[in-house]
C-alpha cells in the first residue's frame, strides 16, 4: 500500500502540511524575535512550542462574528476557498521518489491554477464584508495577482523548456546533473518575488497592509474564520517554499548520507526561513511602486530569460 497516491501518503501529507503550517506561526514569531534581538514566544512548553496549541484553543473559543451587513454565504465561503486551494496544491508535489499524492502530466499548470484560485478567497472575502477597507484589500489582491501571475508563469517556462515536461516529478529528475537555480538564476529570482506576492506576505502584503487599510480583506473576520485565513497564508508560504525547492533546487535530490525526504524537508525549511527573513527585513512598497516594479522590471526580466533559455536550448539541441 505504499507509494504515490496511497491512502497513507494522502493523509500523512495532509496532516503534516497543516501541522507544519500551524507551527510556522511559532517559527515566524521566534525567528523574527531573534532577528529583532528579542526572544519571541518561549513560555508555553519547551521552547514555547505549546504556544501554537494555546493560540489554537484561544481562537476556537473566540466569538465567530458575522457582520449583519455582510453577504453571509460568500462571507463563509471565502476562508474555505483559501484552505481548499492551499491544501489542494500540496497534492501535486513530489516529495520523494515514492511519496506524493498524484503525478499529473500537467502538474505545474495545475499548481499555478491552484495558487491563482486562492486569490478568490481574498476577493470574495473582501467583497462580502461590505467594508470599504476590505474592498480596497480585495481590489489590491486581485490586481496584484493578475500582474504577478503573468511573470510567475513566464519564469517557470524556462524550467519547463529545460526539463521538457510539465510533470513536477520529471522536472525534479531532470535536475540530476545541475539544479535549475544555476541555469535559471533569473527565473528563480523572479519566481521568488512572485511567490512572495502570491502569498500576500511582507513586503508584498498590500492586500492586508495594516498600516493603510486596517487589515485589508480580512478586516471583518474573527474567530476560526480569521484563523483559516491565517493558516491559509502559512500553508501557501510552505507551499511556495516546496515549489521553489522542487523547481529550482532539485527537490529531494542530494548527497546520499541523508534520505531523499530529509533533503526535501531541509531545503524547504531553508526557504521558509528566507520567507520569514524577507518579512523581517524589507519594508512594504507603495502600491504603484509594486505595480510598476512588476510590469516594468519583472516582466522584461522573465521575458528575456525565456528568450535566452529558448535560444540556448535550441543551439545546444542542434
Amino acid at each position: 500500500m505504499n507509494g504515490v497516491g496511497s491512502i497513507i501518503n494522502i493523509f500523512a501529507i495532509l496532516l503534516v502540511a497543516v501541522g507544519i503550517a500551524a507551527y510556522l506561526t511559532w517559527l515566524e514569531r521566534r525567528l523574527i524575535g531573534i532577528w529583532q534581538d528579542r526572544l519571541g514566544p518561549n513560555r508555553v512548553g519547551p521552547l514555547g512550542l505549546g504556544q501554537v496549541v494555546a493560540d489554537m484553543v484561544k481562537i476556537f473559543f473566540k466569538e465567530d462574528w458575522i457582520p449583519p451587513f455582510a453577504d453571509k454565504p460568500v462571507f463563509i465561503l471565502a476562508p474555505a476557498i483559501i484552505m481548499t486551494t492551499a491544501m489542494l496544491s500540496f497534492a501535486f508535489i513530489p516529495y520523494a521518489p515514492d511519496i506524493g499524492v498524484i503525478d499529473l502530466n500537467i502538474g505545474l499548470l495545475f499548481v499555478l491554477g491552484c495558487t491563482s484560485l486562492s486569490v478568490y478567497a481574498a476577493v470574495l472575502g473582501g467583497y462580502a464584508s461590505q467594508n470599504k477597507y476590505a474592498l480596497m484589500g480585495s481590489l489590491r489582491a486581485a490586481a496584484q495577482t493578475v500582474s504577478y501571475e503573468v511573470f510567475m508563469g513566464l519564469a517557470l517556462m524556462g524550467v519547463v523548456m529545460l526539463s521538457g515536461s510539465f510533470n513536477l516529478r520529471e522536472i525534479v529528475e531532470a535536475q540530476q546533473d545541475g539544479w535549475f537555480c544555476v541555469s535559471q538564476f533569473f527565473a528563480f529570482l523572479v519566481f521568488m518575488v512572485a511567490a512572495v506576492a502570491e502569498t500576500h506576505r511582507t513586503p508584498f502584503d498590500l492586500p492586508e497592509a495594516e498600516h493603510e487599510i486596517v487589515a485589508g480583506f480580512h478586516t471583518e473576520y474573527s474567530g476560526m474564520k480569521f484563523g483559516m485565513f491565517f493558516v491559509g497564508e502559512y500553508l501557501s508560504v510552505l507551499f511556495s517554499s516546496v515549489l521553489v525547492v522542487v523547481l529550482f533546487f532539485g527537490g529531494w535530490l542530494g548527497p546520499d548520507f541523508l534520505p531523499p525526504l530529509a533533503w526535501m524537508a531541509l531545503k524547504t525549511f531553508g526557504f521558509v526561513c528566507v520567507f520569514i527573513l524577507l518579512r523581517a527585513a524589507l519594508p512594504r512598497p507603495r502600491y504603484d511602486q509594486m505595480m510598476s516594479f512588476g510590469w516594468k522590471v519583472m516582466l522584461p526580466v522573465s521575458l528575456i530569460n525565456l528568450l535566452v533559455t529558448g535560444g540556448v536550448a535550441l543551439w545546444l539541441g542542434t
Binding site: G33, I34, W35, D37, R38, L39, A281, L282, V297
Partner: protein, 177 residues
C-alpha cells in the same frame, strides 16, 4: 544602475537582519529576572516626611491640579501649630499613569515616585491608596529638605524671620532701614 543599487540595498538590509541571529537578545525575562530599576524610576507614589519626621505635604493641591488624569484627591486641614497637612490624601492608582507631574509640581518634595511597579490587584478598589498607604517614614530622594525651615510662614516653634536665610521681618512702622 539606480535599480541595481536599490536591489543591492535590499540584500544588504537582509544581510544586516541576518547578522542579528547571533547578537544577544535584550529581553529581560521578567518574573524570574528582575529589570534594573534606577532611583529615579517612576513607579509607586509615596508621601515622604521631612528630616524631623513631620509630614512634608502642606496640602497645597498643586499635585492634584497638575495630575493629567485627576487621580489625586486631598483635603487641607491645619494642626495646632499652624502647620497645614492633608486631612485625607487619596491616589487612585488604577488611573495614575506614572507621569511624575505631581512630583514636579510639589513645592515641598513631599510626593515622590519610587522604583516599584509591582502593584497589581485583583480588586479595582484595592488600587485606591489612602494616606496611611502612601505615607512613609523616611525622606525619600531628598534628605535635608524641610519646607517649614526655609519658608517664611510662621508656625508653632518657628516665628517670622527664623527660617534659614530669612531676614528678620521689617518693622513697617519704623523709619530705620
Amino acid at each position: 544602475m539606480k535599480l541595481l543599487s536599490l536591489l543591492l540595498s535590499q540584500f544588504t538590509g537582509m544581510w544586516l537582519v541576518l547578522t542579528h541571529t547571533f547578537s544577544k537578545a535584550d529581553t529581560v525575562q521578567y518574573p524570574e529576572q528582575k529589570p534594573a530599576l534606577f532611583p529615579r524610576y517612576r513607579g509607586r507614589i509615596v508621601l515622604t516626611r521631612d528630616p524631623d519626621g513631620q509630614e512634608r505635604c502642606v496640602a497645597c493641591n498643586l499635585c492634584a491640579v497638575a495630575c493629567p488624569v485627576d487621580c489625586i484627591a486631598l483635603k487641607k486641614t491645619e494642626d495646632d501649630d499652624g502647620r497645614w497637612y492633608p486631612e485625607f490624601f487619596r491616589i487612585n492608582f488604577s488611573r495614575c499613569i506614572m507621569c511624575g507631574f505631581c512630583e514636579e509640581a510639589c513645592p515641598t518634595y513631599s510626593i515622590q515616585l519610587t522604583p516599584d511597579f509591582e502593584m497589581c490587584e485583583y480588586n479595582r478598589q484595592s488600587m485606591v491608596y489612602e494616606k496611611e498607604d502612601l505615607l512613609i517614614d523616611g525622606t525619600g530622594k531628598y534628605h535635608d529638605y524641610n519646607f517649614y525651615r526655609v519658608a517664611g510662614k510662621s508656625i508653632g516653634g518657628k516665628d517670622k524671620g527664623e527660617a534659614e536665610n530669612e531676614a528678620a521681618p521689617i518693622d513697617v512702622k519704623s523709619l530705620m532701614p
